[in-house]
Amino acid sequence: MEMIKQKLEKILHKVQKPARYTGGEYKQVVKNKQDVKVRVAFCFPDTYEIGMSNLGLRILYGILNSIEDVWCERVFAPWVDMEAEMRNNGMPLYGLESYDAINKFDIVAFSLGYELSYTNVLNMLDLAGIPLRSADRGENDPVVIAGGSCCYNPEPMTAFFDLFVVGEGEEVIIELIDAYKSKTDKAGFLKSAANLEGVYVPALHGTDSPQPVIKRIVKDLDKSYFPVDTIVPSTGIVHDRAMLELFRGCIRGCSFCQAGHTGTPVRSRSPQTLTEQGKAAIVNSGYDELALLSLSTSDYKYLDELCDNLLQWCQPRKINLSLPSLRADSFSIELMERVQKVRKSGLTFAPEAGSQRLRDYINKKITKEDLLEACRVAFEGGWNSVKLYFMLGLPTETDEDIKAIAELAHDVHQTWRDNTRNRNRGVRITISTSCFIPKPHTPFERKAQIPISEYLRRVDLLRSSIRSNAITYNWHSPEQGYIEAALSRGDKKIGDVIEATWKLGSRMDSWSEHFSFDSWINAFNNCSVEPDFYATRERNKNESLPWDFIVIRGG
């Protein structure tokens, strides 16, 4: 600890945003090492600002630290400048709470929520001085485990992890800790862990006829732990506000959406519980904003009641409520008008597809009328900026569907002209497109992604269909989406590619300024793996899929 502290003093003045490497925030948990039996490093393979905004991290941090003889610390991926300093100064990856190197911890747990952070996982293991591959680790190395939404297809990362948690982690993590305490060696621990529901231990898993692994869920959210008294960062993070989680799962089941299909069944918290939790979260944190989170907030049955309860308490205290993930309908916008006192930069809707035909096909149940009606209410209320998100390359998409995106944006513009109170202020309508990525466990899991060149052609078509200056068009570059598609439907071979890419210098792939497409393509070539085989190939219905043994509909 002293060693790392001294080295930090020497390097922190040279790096950007040094406060993310110091720990010491209000409500971080510090324990006495002598009283602790199991030390856990909770690793988030992205920056502090993103990791600290993650609700899962806060839940597991709270649960683990509520066990007396367990100490869970946080570890984030250092930004490239910090990484260089750490390597130059021979400084290993450390826990923010203790400044101890994490290679001496008992359990190193990664949260895998985004495929493009896989190279950061390897980089963090390397910085920690922990052998990357499970097979190369010995009795003295930590047990390296993973959880998070990427574990619905664990195969690409199986070589690197001793164990995966599939589904929601808050119950199974306690069982894992108990199993860890009661076993003396790693093999014994893994053996007993493999019997827990929701746990996948690759080394003990028959390769020929793999046992099904059933995802874990929390049945009663009202009774489950929620972090109302949690760390308040001393430096700005992405979602810098108190959080409430209304429900898990989603009733909508849009065909492209993994979260909507893996989060089943829908489980809600009661408005009473949420009101109490909301008050406590504000009082304990000192935040002046409370965000109501879920996959689709408009679908929460008691939203009106909850907002009324919270407003009554929040308004006199100058606490703002924010409602992300609202549906595009007038009910939602009226509610937002009532609730959200601080004008946010703009409204965001995700129709995903331009034509009604394609929206029906992908099961995105929103009509043009809904959307325009929502916009009408918003424009009447004085909003003057709308962002519309779409995917290009959805299965069955035709050029007509793409032109319909432009039409829809023009209709929104017309709605503004008809309903705004102040035409002089102008309006900004932004269309944003990304390339459709087929995901495991969705109805589109066997579909092909369109090639990069085809995406670019469709971008051009859309761009040339837009006739108004009030409409801005942004598109995500397709390269990241292509790699994400190859990784998310990958098998064990993809693990070699990830390691090869990392060796070529890839890290921070989710940041477009650091993402190197060339490095990925080189790595695929070096490993003689064809990315098209994973990304742009349609699987026929008899082909078995790498994630077939993960069972979603068990809960």
Binding site: G23, G286, D288
Partner: protein, 281 residues
Amino acid sequence: MKACRGTLLLYEGVDCNCSEGIRKTFNGFSQHTNFAVNTSFHYSASALAGTIKSFPDALWTVTKIWMEYNMQKIRLRYAKTDKAMYISHLDLMATMQRAFLRAGIKLKYSEGFNPHPYMSVALPLSVGNESLCELMDIAVEDDALTDIKKIKLPEGIEVLEAYKPVRKFNEITWAEITGSMYYETKISDMLIETLAKCYSRQNIVVSKRTKRGNKDLDIAPYIKNVSFDVTDIITMNAIISAQNPTISTDDIMNALNDENKPEYIRIKRIEIYDSNMVLFK
């Protein structure tokens, strides 16, 4: 005379259409302008907010307006050391605001469109420096002095004292500091001698970065009582000008020749004084 301070977000090309005094003040401002109006007009905060609001809708957003008169203020003295030295000024403001709210302190908010609490730091500290004598004024709804033990902060920040302010921040003149100087190479007696000589020169001209390019400044009149302690690092003790001009870590560094420059200097403010070297409160 009534003072009003705040932050105003004006868009380019604003055409003010209000009373002369205000117009003059606001003319030529671009985005995120901090303003301080001294006005003999009888503007209340809301009247001023109203005046500004009468600008064409699209052209402005007032983010903060405070009227300084008849506000209950509390002055806090706090230390910012160790891990907390890396918290930037902006982040510190948010951190403090949250700590006050947690402690149940009723902050007074600005009027206008998007209310902000009144919080003002005497001498913002740069990232990487420490202090035992930071001062912050806050405006509160009720008269009572706060129980400072209730204010729970991140590691390294500690509120030491709370009192009703008497003097204004602009009376602060001198700061007593220590500067830890870190060298990669071994520290020699020669080096200490060279350092001592350097800071006792008649003229110490350094190039200071200003908004309009670099400017040479003789900092000799603004740095005094220099001495050194030597352990495994060199610690400089000095009294430096706290504002107008502010002597920064860079200035202290740039007073040295390249070969005598340390890797870095960490300044720690120990105490602040007025122009007569009377402790500032």
